[in-house]
Subunit: 426 residues, 4 copies
């Protein structure tokens, strides 16, 4: 019998010492002026065994619940509440903020009695959450989430916009290195390139798989670029988690819930693209799937929705950026390459995306677009990318944000080391 | 007999004399560095009588045709070609450019033999136009169309962006004057406000009609603002043409071809809003309807399209701005108020619209949005509009364009006089 | 100042004798087992003069209100309530049903006090209507509306389905008569054919105008077919009302409210096509516009909506048929020709439309589709139409409804006379 | 080395021996008047190893190619061509028809020289296929595919329509058995019920997993119903393949290419639902993914697409049925429960689906819809299902097709044995 996300309270001791989810969360805080980060993604926590219940008695879940701690609650008090939650067979998500800590509860199959917690030490308030999503919500975490990468100054959700650039697919070592050098010089700090390509036709080029990932790892080593690359199933996700820095979930897999859960157990941040006909609620719920498994480092990405309009491949819905930012603390970036499907629209829509307030861009660049194995029509020529960077940098400044400037020699950048560098968000 | 709107690339002098449509057209030229404007809208030109043809022999129209004149063709040569076209019972549209004049032919029911024109004096080339639209196309007029307003420095399509602001509907003299004063001070040069409101329900407020137009005329007199207001049928168009400066055709009427033709015979510029599910081709064809009747002063407006997305009232399709700009020389502005339907999305999407390259904005502002008779939820508070203006002004600068600055006393502006001021495009 | 629909209480005496709207309505009842029809469309009732009010005091309308009479209320009591309503400067819509009469009130600008009516003789109940539409609603009239045509056995909304067939556009007398003879023989009782064609391009064939209407009148005279043809503006509506039997309002004009109001003052039934991206509420509100002017003979028509799907020209939304039938008493038919845009899809979707419960079909048939001046690709060959009729006739039988059988000699049918025959709904 | 699934047009004898895919394929033929079925799904055939190629030399695939054999080509000649193809490192798909066998080639990375095959014995013609899909196409297999289930008279694509009914999710043994008995009595031959539910929220009921599958197996044993149930990832697919008879791939996974490939290696037929915004081409390409792995038993299912319309949960696109039937030989059924999301629309749309020509229906039925754990609003009450069956049975008859009648005692039906019964398509 399969039930939803549940983290047994025995889990922590399997992983040794004092390190429950709470401790782990509390021990990796990273604050910056715009708000505190989350804890790092937890280790795999999913125990089917713990989820047995009577077949005939199954019912809908109770309302999610949120416990807001007092401003001066001690770590011990926070830990006490988490232990209480776990002792009920439920899952606690400790969510530290600049002012106070909140603790989300998931896994309850019926409504909980708030009285259980109200009288505990350090508890200020117990709130039943009415929105269908919880961990993604600003109700639960007011400050913007900023995802940092250790050993680098790159981030998502901070003052500096994240620029991800590179070819649609990794086609060869030469193609990757040429493009990487160019985009690193232009100021990008993240490199994109598919090793696994979900293609509409089974007869189209499907990517170089692990060979492609090895090329990407070389790109990181040589140019200090952080690697963003797509996983299409559990097997590829294992490898992407090993070689890459950010795990991309594509639009077609936005509601591949099995893959979302696997991503939720990964220890790297996840870039989640909006499905082609996803509402904002469905988009946020997909992120909730990832977060409910313990990985709080989720970056959202608008990449165009499907409409009747035929002058672009998809219709880029920039209004989703402020809409998401009202509802969620997660960073959101824009993909004008897939969003328009046409090279000549990429730069104007990049400017618009930055102007609307996006936290970054993901742009396709190819040294020879007309010979690209996929999506050549929407890839920029390298020099067009330089121009784009110059333009969006100025727009960002109007919004009091920044985009990194060009670099003479990216090889000289402090290398992102394989061992530590690619670990996520602390 | 059909006769002709035409104009040479030579600027000319006065209005007087015997002036047929041709001479009249020739007499109002205005050029600026980015390209020459068109002639003013001609008097009503549409003669059904001229369209009589054998009932049984009716057939589809022939391909539109375009005659490109030599760079140094004389006015007389241009006139000669036009007369030849007219002598065939067809219609000639003379389209002067900075380099050379082109002459469009419409009304041919079968393909014409190019040989008829190829050997005429001054003719360089005869081209069959393959696109379904013609007069709106950059193939026919390469330079951007700039629409100026005599006695003012306001324009559409020039370096300075056109900012139109005001309430959804004119509700009272006081509401209009209060809003107008505010937006004029903030730098807007155009005032919007519906006197005729197309409402989904017959039981909703439908506007103050001519009383509303009179209030709008007072707004122009007092604050020097040019008036943009909607016409919903032939009767209201007559009055809007009389009282206003720009005739708005709403999204619901984008394919009300009868109204488009009437607007094509008006002597004021037309602001044409994109229909809720119009493709770019349909949008441009609607403009072609207006132009084919002789009114070349058309401003396009993106106002959101209808999709599955439910976080905004419509989905603002900013990619249509560069798409239209590639295909057409007409100016295109953006309406983020209707495009999103939510006050808190108006400013971010206004920034994005300017960043994508739009030629202007049309924004709803109301002194007391919560009591507005229509669309209050999407109307900005006056002080929000000031903030918006400050932000888009900076974005415009990045694109090497400008937005007029705040004005201490708009009453001191050179008044736009009723007699001349509101006439279009010279 | 323009306010909405208002019918002054003095109106009836202008039109002589006892004939208030109520009397007129009461005097033309037609009952059939599934329910009573409405009264005939009233004469033009729209008096701008009666609509003056203080500019500054304008506000949204009050809730529509409905007075339900007792089962045995007398005609006099009904008339008394109507007179009371009119004495308040409002408009009464008497809606007789099989059990009892209801009286709708429109024109109230503020909420009315139900107490005004509750104590009047014959009144059972006073209900504030919460839906935005009222006259179209089943809340107000429970029984299906059946629209009959005097001197014929044709109807919309009765047991027999209405079949409308003919070419997209009237191209010539010969084309019309050939097609008409064929479809009449196959069992159609209505003939379609555009004399005014709203075309995307100004350069496409736009119809034969009045010459086309004269051909249509000849079709009626020779084959006893009732004429359904489109009006695109007030001028063409005058002529369509004169020559035709049913006035079609096309999808592009579904929210041309000015035209809807004019149609609401016509004395012929109106076929209203759903707009390309209209919700059910907008569709019903468009019908409400027509009814609020006094013409209760409205037939709705689904003709496909615009979506991303590209295998048909539009996506035929058959679920709208039961959706409308739950909310409204008006008949609804389906247009599979425009709904699919492809000849080979017309017959399967016609079967589906009848199976879903539509009250009729409107089908394009052309004697030589490949040479049609418009929409040839979606027109059936005449023999395909025979096959279609045979198939849908059998499907209708499964739903306990019928479709008229083939006729050897349609000329022998009782002619529909010009004087009386084409008048609507009694 | 890649090897081959193939089958001659000669029917054959037994299963025995060690038989490679080729022999196995040859041994299970079954023809019926409307056309021959395909061979059974082959064992897993996909060898990534065989796809190694020089990283730098990768390129797009060559055009797919099709070899049409002569009408009297012998099995040996067919096998000879297949061996030739395999000797080139490519994959051969033998596609027997009633008249002749065709052999599809996939795996070629560059265009092949037709001359290689043209002179071989038995070859009539070599055709380069221009459509992006191939194995799904009628160009390659003209006759309708009929999928039979051994030991039963149930099928997809035959004269009799396939009726699948049951609850959205398996909630308990009692709920499943109650519903199953009812729908079996009403004439359904297939039972639906999710053991794995892809839910928008991670906090919603996600299904009983293997416990649910065991309940489904009991349903088959007791009522002779064939089991259709959804797989959401590779793990659940293994179990669904073990316990069920038809593997359902949900709309959200229509472009989960990794899962499609796994389904293509399964030995049970696959029911593939159309994605919420999938074009016909994408839909067919998803089926092509399954078929390209060797499983030719694919049933397509329309379940509504996402549009602006809000009166139903999705917009059921019935025109896709004839559209698919023109392009593909695969059976296509309709899901009016998800397609409308509203109980009161299910029966009318079921009638319409049968009338349009669908090969079956999948309907949600629940003994107590208001307490269903998922999608209760769209589930029929059992007695509504009886009524639906009566209505669609009559409609099917009009199309010269049939739907099985009610059964007094489904337990008395020839049991579908676990060993043989659930094997697919012979």
């Amino acid at each position: 019998m399969l039930w939803v996300v549940k983290r047994a309270h025995v889990r922590s001791k399997d992983r040794g010492s004092k390190s429950g989810g709470l401790d782990r969360a509390l021990s990796h805080l990273d604050t910056r002026k715009t708000g505190a980060g989350w804890g790092p993604p937890a280790a795999p926590l999913y125990h089917r065994a713990a989820q047995k219940r009577d077949t005939l008695g199954c019912g809908n879940k109770g309302s999610p619940m949120l416990i807001v701690m007092k401003a001066h609650a001690t770590e011990e008090q926070v830990r006490g509440v988490c232990q209480k939650i776990e002792s009920l067979g439920l899952r606690a998500h400790s969510i530290p903020g600049t002012q106070r800590t909140a603790i989300g509860i998931t896994g309850n199959e019926t409504d909980l009695d708030p009285g259980i917690f109200e009288e505990m030490l350090g508890v200020q308030e117990v709130i039943a959450v009415s929105k269908p999503y919880k961990l993604v919500s600003r109700d639960v975490k007011e400050e913007d989430t900023v995802i940092n990468f250790s050993g680098t100054d790159a981030s998502f959700g901070g003052d500096e916009l994240a620029i991800i650039a590179g070819p649609c697919a990794i086609e060869s070592r030469e193609q990757a290195l040429t493009t990487a050098k160019h985009v690193a010089c232009a100021g990008a700090k993240f490199f994109r390139g598919g090793a696994y390509k979900p293609r509409t036709s089974p007869y189209s080029f499907q990517g170089l798989a692990e060979d492609g990932l090895k090329i990407l790892a070389e790109v990181r080593d040589r140019f200090g670029l952080l690697i963003v690359t797509e996983a299409i199933d559990n097997e590829s996700l294992d490898l992407v988690e090993k070689y890459g820095d950010v795990i991309q979930i594509g639009a077609r897999n936005m509601q591949n819930f099995s893959l979302l859960k696997r991503a939720g157990r990964a220890r790297k941040p996840v870039l989640l693209k909006r499905g082609m006909s996803a509402t904002v609620e469905e988009f946020l719920m997909a992120a909730e799937y990832i977060m409910s498994e313990g990985n709080y480092n989720v970056i959202l990405c608008e990449r165009g929705v499907r409409t009747f309009a035929d002058h672009t491949r998809n219709t880029l819905d920039l209004s989703v950026v402020p809409a998401v930012q009202r509802l969620s603390h997660l960073p959101i970036i824009v993909d004008p390459s897939h969003g328009t499907g046409k090279r000549n629209k990429v730069t104007p829509l990049s400017r618009a995306a930055v102007a609307v307030g996006a936290d970054g861009l993901i742009i396709e660049v190819h040294p020879d677009p007309d010979r690209a194995l996929s999506d050549g029509k929407q890839s920029l020529f390298p020099e067009q990318f330089d121009q784009l960077m110059a333009e969006v940098r100025e727009i960002a400044r109007v919004l009091k944000r920044s985009i990194a400037g060009p670099v003479a020699d990216p090889q000289a950048r402090r290398p992102v080391t394989a061992s530590a560098g690619s670990a996520a968000a602390r």
